[in-house]
């Protein structure tokens, strides 16, 4: 089986700093993969490279076998990569439902003309869209707040909404950037279950940046560890936990006992 996402020697340099240095990653269809590493390791930068927000200085990103070099972020999104952001980037002045609907463009096929004359096709599609959006929101228990302003939601629900919104694009791979940041134990546990559920129900591959080790070790089938822009380890949860390089990266050099 070919990987749905693959990077080869992915590198980006900002001035003199190599934020990401020759990183090789792969994610297989339906796989749940974690990307971890100390702060500043370059994880979010990798995400930005994967989603074409940044262009690599060298190296390549392949999505479904296709080189993403010349694709713009929105084109890549339409091909099936969705993401959430480390600092929440919701459309604050739009309603919860509208946030989801923006991302649902794939479901829409009426023309602007149809919209202007309010054709029957437009009306029926809009209705279907709304149902689609509400159903997605239901998975995360947000459908009761569908018409509230996204910016008025409590923090935890905003994080959830970002995931729903990303799901609405109909992706094959979803990249979650620290989805558990700021959540308490119970919320993190719920998130774990939800991520596993959407992976199954939507037949998705998931790439996850996280600092919460319990979450990562709990659900990830494969983990990549980054430190100072370089991949220092890859493997299962157990393999990563016992790797001396990883321990050193997080805890500092071990003293001889």
């Amino acid at each position: 089986m070919k990987p749905i996402l693959e990077t080869k020697n992915l590198t980006i340099q900002f001035g003199g700093l190599k934020a990401v240095d020759s990183v090789d990653l792969s994610v297989y269809p339906g796989q749940l993969v974690g990307l971890i590493g100390p702060n500043g390791a370059g994880k979010t930068t990798v995400f930005n490279l994967l989603t074409s927000v940044y262009k690599p200085t060298s190296g390549q990103v392949f999505f479904n076998g296709e080189d993403t070099q010349d694709l713009k972020p929105f084109e890549l999104a339409r091909k099936g990569i969705a993401r959430t952001f480390q600092n929440i980037r919701l459309f604050k002045e739009l309603s919860v439902l509208e946030n989801v609907l923006v991302a649902s463009t794939a479901q829409v096929d009426y023309s602007m003309w149809g919209a202007c004359v309010r054709s029957a096709h437009f009306l029926s599609q809009e209705k279907k869209l709304e149902e689609f959006g509400l159903k997605l929101l239901q998975i995360f228990n947000l459908e009761t707040k569908a018409h509230h302003l996204a910016g008025s939601l409590p923090y935890g629900e905003q994080r959830k909404l970002e995931i729903v919104r990303a799901l609405a694009t109909g992706p094959k791979l979803i990249c979650l950037d620290e989805p558990a940041a700021g959540l308490n134990h119970q919320e993190t546990h719920d998130l774990m279950l939800t991520v596993a559920k959407i992976r199954k129900d939507f037949n998705l591959a998931v790439l996850l940046i996280e600092h919460d080790m319990k979450l990562v070790m709990g659900i990830c089938e494969r983990i990549f560890v980054l430190d100072h822009g370089v991949k220092i380890c890859e493997g299962t949860a157990r393999e990563v936990q016992s790797s001396p390089k990883v321990i050193e990266a997080y805890l500092g050099p071990q003293e001889d006992t």
Binding site: V102, T105, E126
Partner: protein, 336 residues
Amino acid sequence: MKKPLLFFAFAVALGVAVDQGTGPFVQLILIYIVINMMLAMSLNLVNGFTGQFSLGHAGFMATGAYSSAYLSTVLPHFGGAGQLFDFALLAFLGGLSAAVAGLLVGLPSLRLRGDYLAIVTLGFGEIIRVILLNTPAVGGARGMYGIQGPQDLNLGGIAISRFLWAFTQASGWAVLCFFVLWRLIRSQQGRHFLAVREDEIAADAMGVDTTRTKVLAFVISSFFAGVAGSLFAHYANYLNPASFAFTRSVDVVIMVVLGGMGSLTGSLFAAAFITILPELLRPLQEQTGIDLRMVIYSLTLIVLMILRPQGLMGSREFQWGWLGKWWPQPRPKAES
């Protein structure tokens, strides 16, 4: 189709009343109000709904005005009732030329950050003005005189004055503009406009073609600005590049900001208010002998931005239910 026709019918009725009951001065103001409404609504699409800052709206209006005026000298005319077709076509062509201008200006500039886009659009507006100033074919600095306009006419025994003609046309376009924008905004394309305004990077990540969205907003906006220009040209029968200077763009910006960036109905109210304001201030001007209008305008801008940047209506639209209460209801937030 019901609502637009209703509004149009109301406008026509208003036109008839004004035609019968008032004189040319009030009629002129009313036409200007309608023209300004179109300018404000169309600029709001770009500035308010899509969050891009365009300071060159006068340039697009000028493009439409001059194109339409020029074409009216070279295209064949239909007399009598055929006028309707004439001027509708001219307005459409004026809008089209402005839309093309919008495309040409928008494509290279819309990747610039807020302040830079503002400067480029300002520059474009000025360049258009300078070009017109130096084009003898359209009158140059002296201006273009004797532009054809709607004439008084007799339709099967009913006398329709030039004003009523022009007002009906203008209202027709304004109603069209309003409903097109209103309905577009409440569609997937509209959600794209708003998403670009809220967060371009997130919009990109959600599959929104942000460049195309911004350019589209620009083009639609310029089209209606061009139509407004055409209506202006054929009613005033005279054009001068000086009427399309930066001050004119600022006027429209004030209307949009005052009414609320993101409120179509707000733009309507603000446009009417700003059009009438100079006349309201005229007694003051006559008494004191000084023209305080621009001073008041600019102070209003500053104070508005500091104290109430959302303008009159923010991003809310007028609701008929408000007529029953005194103050507009806030948008529903958390309901527990």
